[in-house]
């Protein structure tokens, strides 16, 4: 799966969780979205792990600077499982 494909599926996850869902782009960060607080963040991670059937390793999500890097991480975890 490519970053673009992951971003498309991520858009679906975001649409389910956010009341006013942002457009998912590689540059998007939590700071850009009012609804994206720490609770939403936890919720998002749980939903993403379920959607992509992956499990992130300790500390690595925090290291992703934006949605693009997060999508790359998802791709890595999907292929290295």
């Amino acid at each position: 799966m490519t970053q673009a494909e992951v971003l498309t599926r991520l858009q679906g996850v975001f649409d389910n969780l956010f009341l006013e869902s942002p457009k998912v782009t590689p540059q998007l960060t939590a700071k850009d979205v009012a609804e994206w607080d720490s609770l939403m963040h936890i919720s998002l991670l749980v939903a993403v792990e379920k959607e992509f059937n992956v499990r992130f390793r300790v500390g690595e999500v925090e290291a992703a600077k934006n949605v693009g890097e997060f999508a790359d991480l998802i791709v890595r975890r999907m292929t290295e499982k």
Binding site: L19, S38, L39, S43, A47, F56, G59, E62
Partner: protein, 618 residues
Amino acid sequence: MDLNDVKALLLRNDPSFWPALDSLTRQATEFSDLVFLSSLRKKALARGLKQTAEVPAPLRLAIIGGYSLYPLHELLTHLLESAGTPVELFLGDYDNHVAEIMDPESRLYRFKPQVVILLPGVQRCKYSGTLTDERQAAQACATSTATQLLDLCKTLNERSGAEVLLCNFALPARRDLGEYRARTLASDYTFRKWVNLELSLNAPPYVRICDVEFLANRRGALASEDPRGWFESKQPGSPALLVDLAREAAHLIRAIRNPPKKVLALDLDNTLWGGVVGDDGLEGIEIGDTSPRGEAFKAFQKYIATLKQRGVLLAVCSKNDHARAFEALEKHPEVVLRPNDFVSLKINWDPKSDNLIRMAEELNLGLDSFVFVDDNPAEIEIVRQFAPQVSTILLGSDPAEYVGQLQDCGLFEPRSITKEDADRTAQYRAESERQTMLSSATDMDAYLASLEMVALVRDFAPVDVPRLSQLINKSNQFNLTTRRRTEAEVQALIGRPDHTCFSVRLSDKFGDHGLISIVIGRVSGETMEIDTWLMSCRVLKRQVEETVLNELARRAQAKGCSRLEGLYLPTKKNGMVRDFYPRMGFQTRSATPERGEYTLGLDTYEPRPTKITVKENP
């Protein structure tokens, strides 16, 4: 109704958002669903969406302990608030609970909590010695760990008056130490078990144990732990465990304010035994060790008997023929619960909501102390509509699950059990006998209208013959003449001009009841003789009787008849329709113990009003 529907209600500013939110919150099992619902609730509050119910004063709730209490507090706040208890929250700092409790000037005390949840960290519940120490040394350490925690609760209660919910410790999920783990009190596994026991067995009345050991065991130890969550943000467990923990804490908090229920009112057919005693008879019902299904019903009765031992009052609320149902309770050799085990037996054809209201008056108890159990969703619905204070339990489709369903309902949890609890039934029986029966009017019409019933009336057709014949030969209770007919005899009636033969199917918003009534009328000059009129008892008092009479009158008139003649032939089982024709407005021509003859003139017949939509030969 799903998450997107409730989101849509919020976006439309529809006040029915609140009940929908409550309902979905009760059902939600997933962490992410609850978090989502919680964020919807907060947005609705921020938008000022009007709440339908009155909002009570907030509960002052503090959560303190050896973990990050975020997002646990979100879940807990949401569970309480969506169910109508607003919360004012105090969140302790990470692992600062000892100081918060010991310092009389702390922010915790200034907050004046009514309830404090104390979630001590498992890292502090550890034997400090070595695996080879004497058992007494580890035991002393476990006791002192428990005592220290209970002492903290004591200080907390003395200084604030708050009730304390003390969380105990999940057991390790891993195989560390192997078989040896259980042979020493020094292993984490056994040590925590011991501390947990010391906590529960020594907890004073103002402390309620929030049993994390039990919750993690129920969920699965591996599914409950979350080392990544610990390292990243000091979480007490996996998201799934947080949900369990929040639900349990919310349940315990509600239990502080609401006492447990007192009365368990039970349906009979397909609840206490399998089958319908009015149709299947004493010999035909399924109860006892002769079949797996019978065993399941018997186990359910045995469990209910243990509830009675704990002080729960039992009652029967059944739509049934009183004599036959009572006979089964009294005489069936495998029945566990006998008539004397119940404080009240309401076995009749009245709406169950009326029966429950009468019971409450007779026992001098509030309706809100009643729990009603039935396998039939329509009965549960009428109680929810007309006696909404009663808690209801709709049994599932498998009697093997009945015991578990009742054990999980959380409505009969005692804070303590006394010797008097076991004798309570006798006291209430006496009280009940002193009270006179009071009838209560329920707006039956509104209920019937809400069922959205549709009757399909059909002339006998070849395709229906097997079902017609089956019902003609099986139906006992609501059957005026109990005339049996073979398939060939039923077939021979089709299309005869001197007969009118029709069947009725009934459906409502809960589903299709199938073929439920059959009528065979024979034309003799200006008279239509009612050879057969039978109906399934499941649909009694739903105005099917009136609908059928309207239909019969119309058909008789179309065939040039000026009157209907009805016949009642008594059997052992059809006592319920002894007075049926007079009740329907027929004149009695003759009535003897062997037969009753009745007549109804059609010249002035006005169709009876019903809440059933009739469709002819669709």
